[in-house]
Subunit: 447 residues, 2 copies
């Protein structure tokens, strides 16, 4: 039995292609529909996926004309999906810049309890002045400051999750002692960004801590991932780039004193399936033709810090764009977009088409066999431990992947036939952190 | 068809009696069990209750030895219960002192969407230094400052909920226009406590805004309720006190320019049921005998700002306790406890027994007829629009109330036989706030 790859379903209202909402199948109110997300999560669970995953930023970013951009907050969505599923992991994005560690650690511990140990937290620092202005700031904190706060946030959250021992609840009805006060401790954290007394107001959850996920690929992002992340989502366009990212991050993780097997690297893939390659390509083209380029150009201009009129649709990007280290927000995304445009000498119109499909993630348009081949090549080639599957259109794109690609991966021995464990840590093959009071640890050492 | 009373089920792990967890029926892990809370919510829905309700404070308060005090965070719990129920309202407590308006407004709008319009928010300011120390403060802000922040928080949250018009989503697939940008506006709020740009990143929810609930009975609390609350939970021990509170708050609401029918006043009631009055009283006594008074005395001493040794168990409260207006936290609870002890000349041990049952709420031990009579007397006597039912032990206390008291109230024409509406606003008979852009409102006036 060889090593298996991991699959997450990255879900987003009507799909990852920005024009997917215009398809006949699409529910324009999908982003706020429990029935929609429950159906998707159950489909992913039928396909034995490791998890479903939701992005998030606490801001209405972009044009409401262009596509459905308002959606339910993902931590509460996870809780609702915990009730509608049984085995699949549940990962939500939440910002360390615009939350309090006590509140967020509590919510993820709560979701871990409600789901029986299936919670994961995708840690983001949230780029952009627009988000900052929803939280009393005039502009975003500096990139480096956001990452320093994120590291301290993760430290505090971990201390809070560890503030109850595994066996703190005695439940001694006879003696009238519910929990052992010696096994529930304050954290008394005091640092540059946070002072938190603790303990957390919820007993230790089934996974001990939620699975920590990270998705930034800047230098600061990779450093944070090497120290804390147990899964990493990343956008990679070519096998070579993906291999380089993979081996770099595994090496950084080892250098941080951690087992490189303890961090799962999962590039995003936008599959567009068809019975033949030509059919798949036609479906991709039809979706691209539904993009309204004027909306997309406005957002591209915002990302590149230009005016829309600086970006004629049928010319390449202008020269003289700033370097990544002059950018304070979403650095790795910036580099990816500019790199893609330069490498393939894309016009603005072509670049918009490529970004409209998967926002910089690799699109694979082809037959189920071709998609399975592509995933296998990256997995076997040391470029990925698995993939974050980003269907262009939902629900159909997930249905097709589960019905046609998953069976091929299973037949090739690359993917589980059924769940073995019950928790997300078990699906990923990650250890469950245990927590015992130092007194007990001392006794264990002594015995 | 006369006016109907409203019933909320106030749920708390194994029940409101502090020793309930020691009963044979009780699951000591109930506070983190989705199955437990789903069963309770479904029972309350079978009983046609208006809502289930959860208290909250972001702090582990009290002794973990004494009773189960760690539980899931209630906003994520509501989302999970939205998936497991269809009609019943879902109310969670959340603090205005230790949340950001943007984050919390989003979560309640999300729950309102996921539940099809069943969300309510019990607005609290969170007393106590222990909670403050989980959020970077050395002590709680002053009572008045907490209430000023709460009022501004509610203003900002309302602006955010109103930042999308009812009909903002055009869903024009043909033209490629998802929503009308003119009907989604920033809020540009700037005040002493909050600066928030907006708009909210989720379309307007089915109820427009969640139902606003309030539970403090101090002067500041009553002022806040008169301005904002649509339902008020309150602890009242006697008919006379409850009538005085009821008419005072209705008058304050009218004085604030609002319809007094738009605020539902719901005292908490702890029913302890038995086939005979003697059986009910025996069950209450058996529960009280399970209290360990040393734990309870420690917490009482903390509330009264005394040392435990200042409170001999078999003597009355000492003289010279501070007046309510010298207290900075949980003012109305303080007054209730001291008032109860003085009025009935209770010893500390007796006071602990009374508080252990319902933390100052009225306990009614009796037959289903006696409980129904008591509720009817308060409802008909102008003391209540309904009740917040706080079963001493769960799940049995809710089962018994639904099976034996609800049918009596229905037979007397005092309570609904079935749900008529689908939203919490419809259950309470409250209007759904609508929101249209001023341009449209202007057109409506002109036409």
């Amino acid at each position: 039995m060889g090593k298996k790859l991991h699959l997450n379903a990255f879900l987003m209202s009507t799909g990852h292609h920005e024009a997917s909402w215009r398809l006949p199948e699409s529910d324009p109110h999908a982003g706020t529909s429990l029935a929609h997300f429950t159906r998707l999560a159950q489909t992913a669970e039928r396909g034995k996926f490791d998890s479903v995953f939701f992005a998030d930023s606490p801001v209405l970013w972009g044009s409401v004309g262009r596509r459905p951009i308002g959606a339910v907050e993902p931590t509460v969505l996870l809780a609702a999906l915990a009730a509608g599923t049984e085995r699949i992991g549940l990962i939500a994005t939440a910002s360390t810049s615009y939350n309090s560690p006590y509140n967020l650690a509590r919510r993820f511990a709560s979701i871990d309890h409600l789901s029986g140990g299936r919670a994961g937290w995708n840690v983001v620092t949230t780029a952009g002045a627009d988000a900052a202005r929803n939280f009393g700031l005039d502009d975003q904190p500096l990139h480096r400051d956001r990452y320093e706060r994120a590291a301290e946030f993760l430290d505090v959250a971990s201390e809070l999750w560890d503030s109850w021992d595994d066996e703190a609840i005695l439940a001694d009805k006879e003696a009238g002692i519910w929990a052992d006060a010696a096994r529930v401790r304050p954290v008394d954290h005091s640092g540059p960004h946070f002072s938190v007394k603790g303990p957390l107001d919820i007993p230790r959850s089934p996974q001990g801590r939620p699975v920590i996920v990270q998705a930034g690929s800047s230098e600061d992002g990779k450093s944070l991932a090497a120290r804390y992340a147990e899964a990493v989502f990343t956008a990679q366009q070519t096998l070579g780039e993906a291999q380089a990212f993979y081996s770099d991050l595994k090496a950084r993780t080892a250098a941080a004193g951690r087992d490189p097997e303890g961090i799962k690297i999962l590039p995003g893939i936008v599959p567009v399936l068809g019975g033949t390659e030509a059919e798949a390509q036609r479906r991709e083209r039809e979706l691209d033709e539904l993009i309204r380029p004027e909306y997309a150009r406005d957002e591209l201009a915002k990302t590149l810090r230009l005016a829309p009129e600086d970006l004629p649709l049928d010319r390449e990007l202008p020269a003289g764009l700033p370097e990544e280290d002059e950018i304070e927000g979403a650095k790795s995304r910036y580099t990816l977009i500019v790199g893609l445009a330069r490498r393939e000498r894309l016009t603005v119109r072509q670049l918009i088409g490529r970004l409209g499909g998967g926002r910089g993630h690799r699109t694979i348009a082809g037959t189920p066999e071709q998609v399975a081949d592509a995933l296998q090549a990256w997995f076997s080639g040391g470029a990925a431990d698995g993939f974050n599957i980003m269907p262009a259109a939902l629900p159909s794109g997930l249905d097709e992947f589960v019905d046609h690609v998953v069976p091929l991966l299973q037949a090739r021995g690359l993917f589980r036939e059924d769940y073995i464990g019950r928790t997300l840590r078990e699906h990923y093959g990650l250890p469950t952190p245990s927590r015992q009071s130092s007194a007990e640890q001392g006794l264990a050492h002594a015995s």
